[in-house]
């Protein structure tokens, strides 16, 4: 029940196309790679291991058993509670984002299996307004936790978000409280929550559920933090150290359990769920 959409989202870093194939430069090492080859490795550079953005469709393909995914609450759409206009009306921004991404808001949640193990699964859609968390995202995450409790499922949630959605103002901030409250109910139900921080996971998403996993996983090189780097630089009037707020930095500082390449995630998640005694039904 995936919405119709254009082919896998490679266009953001599309650099050049010549001859028959489409070529792209790796953002990490600068090596020229064919789009075909990158697609085969789920957008991970074979030379330097750089993880480029992966489309939502391909995340589902990578992590869930084929054909096992069933979306939850796929028809929730945002409204414009503040009448927000910043040169462009918020409803127009939503329409543009929906057209561009093929999704109704910035998260996809649902039920699927990982090596036959049923899980509640969610992944942020970064190309939809920077994966920002407004009312729809908050509601879908909350419902995902609530359904996981009702159906006794572990929750695996992949975050990729700039934080709260400014155009929904204070109601976006309230989604932090709402999602964390639901996460705590999952805790009481003794069901695992594996929180995965993709690039980037910042602001109101980082400061709510993203670092409250029973196990916190990050993708290599992912930017994870509370404040934006420009804000910090402007506040302290210093340039930031190399690698600041990257996944490795967070692991060094005790905030992340494991840094896992995306192609190893499925095995990893399944193993953790098994170790946390989550029944396979």
């Amino acid at each position: 029940m995936l919405p119709a959409r254009k082919p896998a989202g490679l266009d953001a870093s599309l650099k050049q196309s010549f001859g028959k194939g489409v070529f792209r430069k790796c953002d990490g090492c600068g090596e020229t790679l064919t789009a075909e080859r990158l697609a085969a490795t789920f957008e991970v550079c074979e030379h330097c291991g750089r993880h480029h953005k992966l489309s939502t469709r391909r995340w589902l393909e990578l992590l869930l058993d084929e054909g096992s995914f069933h979306a939850w609450d796929a028809d929730l759409v945002p409204t414009d509670p503040l009448g927000f206009e910043d040169g462009k009306r918020y409803p127009d921004r939503i329409s543009a984002a929906q057209k561009k991404s093929g999704w109704k808001d910035a998260i996809c949640t649902g039920h699927g299996t990982m090596f036959d193990r049923p899980v509640a699964f969610g992944v942020f859609i970064f190309e939809f307004l920077g994966g920002s968390m407004g009312s729809v995202v908050g509601e879908k995450i909350t419902r995902m936790f609530e359904r996981a409790i009702a159906e006794r499922l572990p929750v695996i949630l992949l975050s990729a978000s700039g934080g709260a959605r400014m155009q929904e103002g204070i109601l976006s901030l309230m989604q932090m409280a709402k999602t964390v409250s639901a996460r705590e109910r999952l805790r009481d139900a003794r069901l695992p929550f594996i929180s995965v921080s993709l690039n980037p996971t910042t602001g109101g998403v980082a400061a709510s559920f993203a670092l409250l996993g029973d196990v916190n996983i990050a993708e290599p090189g992912a930017l994870i933090g509370f404040a934006g780097q420009r804000v910090i630089e402007a506040t302290i009037r210093q340039t930031l150290p190399e690698g600041f707020q990257r996944a490795e930095f967070l692991k060094d500082h005790g905030m992340i359990d494991r840094i896992v390449p995306r192609t190893e995630m499925k095995r990893e998640f399944e193993r953790i769920c098994a170790l946390l005694h989550c029944p396979t039904v």
Binding site: A74, D75, L76, V77, P78, T79, P81, L82, F84, E85, D86, G87, K104, S135, V136, G138, E139, T142, A164, M166, E168, G169, I170, L171, S172, L173, M174, M176, A177, K178, V180, S181, R183, E184, R185, G204, A206, A207, S208, A210, L211, L212, I224, G225, F226, A227, G228, V231, I232, T235, I236, Q238, L240, P241, F244, Q245, F249, H253, G254, M255
Partner: protein, 329 residues
């Protein structure tokens, strides 16, 4: 009053004249009385004071959202400890997060509210440059939030209602704050508040800046002072992201609907506490009295609920915040 906002000036001028007249009245002896033994200066003073109040009401009735933001940050505005000293007896401050440091931008303690033991938490801004260094302008590091976390758990264990006072531009954005897990520290506060089996009542007394404010805001009932604000980002931050121009903060303030009446309309706060004419800084005692009445009412409503029901009540309160449409229906 040392600091005066441009729109406060007519009020400040009038109040200044009242002060001068009072000084004259004090110096002058009984020969100033008229034939009936009344004091004409005293009568004029009363009239002037009345006019100052009317003028304040008139001016404040038409404040823009941006002017209200400026009031919420007014340097003379009462801060958490100004209210704690008026509302809480036996106040016993508790320091430190037991992990790394004491953070004085967020104060915590035990005390009594109208005789009943409570836990108290609040952001604390400084008055003047030196005090603001100590208080870090009311912007906590992770240690502040981990102190709060400790208090949430302590209060839950000893069944103490928790009163929080929100007044921060936001959690501090710095290298050390990130190294020590600002995100996790705030997230953990939201979680602890969500879990607590005691009444939690939050009052936004000044600025409610983003996640750093929400870490004290997951309450059963949330109130805001008439000139308090609550927003997902500062208007300056919003303007600099949207228009690459922080000076358009006035426009951002209007767009974000961050003033008390807007917050009430959105269901984000449960009530607005009226401030004295001219704002809380014109009469701290009266403002504290108004907060006291609000807290008393709230505690009365919540006290009969069981620990479980209190957590459920809080869950339901935040569960319904947000707007969306199910397009399949």
């Amino acid at each position: 009053m040392a600091f005066v906002l441009p729109f406060e000036k007519p009020i400040a001028d009038l109040i200044g004249r009242v002060r001068e007249l009072r000084a004259v009245a004090v110096l002058r002896g009984p020969e100033g009385l008229d034939d009936d033994g009344d004091d004409p200066i005293e009568a004029e003073l009363k009239a002037l004071e009345g006019r100052a109040k009317d003028l304040a009401k008139e001016i404040f009735a038409d404040l823009t959202p941006w002017q209200k933001v400026q009031l919420s940050r007014h340097p003379a505005r009462p801060y958490t400890l100004d209210y704690v000293s008026r509302l809480i007896t036996d106040f016993t401050e508790l320091a430190g997060d037991r992990r790394f440091a004491e953070d004085e931008s967020l104060i915590a303690g035990l005390g009594r509210f109208e005789g009943r033991p409570v836990a108290v938490l609040g952001h604390q801004k400084g008055r003047g440059a030196k005090d603001n260094v100590r208080r870090n302008f009311g912007m906590p590091h992770p240690e502040g939030y981990r102190k709060a976390l400790r208090i949430y758990e302590l209060a839950d264990r000893f069944r103490l209602p928790i009163l929080t006072f929100i007044d921060t531009p936001g959690a501090y954005p710095g290298i050390g704050a990130e190294e020590r897990g600002q995100s996790e520290a705030i997230g953990a506060c939201l979680a602890a508040m969500a879990r607590a089996g005691v009444p939690i009542i939050a009052t936004i007394i000044g600025e409610g800046g983003s996640g750093g404010a929400l870490a004290l805001g997951v309450a059963n009932e949330v109130f805001v002072l008439e000139y308090g604000t609550y927003s997902v980002i500062t208007p300056e931050g919003c303007a600099s992201i949207l228009w690459k121009d922080g000076s358009k903060a006035d426009r951002a303030a209007a767009q974000m609907r961050m003033t008390a009446d807007e917050l009430f309309g959105l269901g984000v706060v449960d009530g607005v506490v009226e401030e004295p004419a001219g704002g809380a800084h014109h009469d701290v005692d009266a403002t504290a009295d108004a907060i006291r009445a609000t807290l008393r009412g709230s505690l009365d409503r919540l006290s009969s609920l069981t620990p479980h029901a209190l957590a459920d009540h809080r869950y339901a309160r935040f569960r319904r915040l947000g707007t969306f449409v199910d397009s399949a229906v």
